[in-house]
């Protein structure tokens, strides 16, 4: 897709170009928003707000990186602001680091599930773990970057991530064992 022409047309206010840009990214970006929130309603709220920011700030895109990555960063930032400002998430958005020790696991579980089921599992994590896990494992933010975006120190981000990762791996192992049992039970 020729993003340059599409962006230029959007900046000129062409409604068909704006719709085309939205249609191109909407499904993938809704998946991003879904991973950070606890309901599809909230995910759609974030998506709507995110796209409004995309169009309002489109003139600032400097073609210095991939356009899809730029859109995605806006969505993630919008999701983070949503979590911070929404009372439903604030109480669970805890980044307390009670110890300097954090669990480490070398387990490498099978991932015998589709993308949606894995996303649902990630969304079961407490909001703080969910957020940091998404940011590091999926979006690729470093713990330094996560610390700056969430207002926590790098060490807290690392320990929260480790706990999230260990918990997720535990669930994946359990899910894998249950899947195997089901296979044994079936004739």
């Amino acid at each position: 897709m020729n993003y340059q022409k599409l962006i230029k047309d959007c900046l000129n206010g062409r409604p068909d170009a704006q719709r085309q840009l939205y249609e191109h990214f909407a499904e993938g970006m809704l998946a991003v928003c879904y991973r950070y929130t606890k309901s599809m309603t909230d995910a759609e709220d974030v998506l709507q707000e995110g796209f409004i920011k995309v169009f309002k700030n489109l003139h600032q895109y400097k073609s210095e990186g991939e356009f899809g990555g730029w859109v995605r960063r806006i969505m993630v930032n919008t999701a983070l602001n949503f979590l911070k400002q929404n009372s439903r998430y604030q109480s669970d958005l805890s980044f307390l680091d009670n110890s300097s020790m954090h669990p480490v696991t070398n387990d490498d579980p099978e991932m015998r599930m589709n993308a949606k089921d894995l996303a649902e599992m990630i969304r079961q994590l407490p909001t703080g773990y969910q957020t940091i896990f998404n940011m590091h494992a999926v979006e690729g933010y470093t713990h330094v970057e996560i610390g700056k975006l969430l207002g926590i120190n790098e060490g807290t981000s690392r320990s929260q991530y480790s706990r999230a990762r260990t918990l997720l791996i535990t669930w994946l192992k359990k899910h894998s064992e249950e899947s195997k049992k089901e296979n044994y039970v079936r004739p």
């Binding site: 409604p15 759609e44 709507q48 409004i52 494992a137």
Partner: protein, 97 residues
């Protein structure tokens, strides 16, 4: 396998994920975009007002010019009527033998 393999597999799976948003999402975005867009019709009043002003000014000037012309014409007519009556008297004198 290294720790990063787990993250890579998670990322690969999450990058596959897609959901179709409801129509209301685009409607909300579009509503906001149209709200910010300045109305083209709003700017028409400036040239329209200028045009009216010019037309009004031209009409006023024309009216003023017409009045002066009428006044001048009236004066000229009065003068020519006065001259005409003297002349007609002289002719009458000439006619009589």
């Amino acid at each position: 396998m290294s720790d990063h393999d787990f993250e890579k597999r998670v990322k690969l799976k999450m990058d596959e994920l897609r959901f179709r948003p409801s129509d209301a999402v685009w409607q909300g975005v579009e509503r906001e975009l149209r709200k910010d867009k300045p109305s083209r019709r709003g700017w028409l009043w400036i040239p329209a007002a200028l045009l009216l002003l010019c037309a009004g000014g031209y009409y006023a000037v024309q009216q003023s010019g017409d009045r002066q012309h009428d006044a001048a014409s009236a004066t000229a007519l009065n003068n020519s009527s006065a001259d005409g009556s003297k002349n007609s008297g002289a002719v009458a004198e000439n006619r009589s033998p």
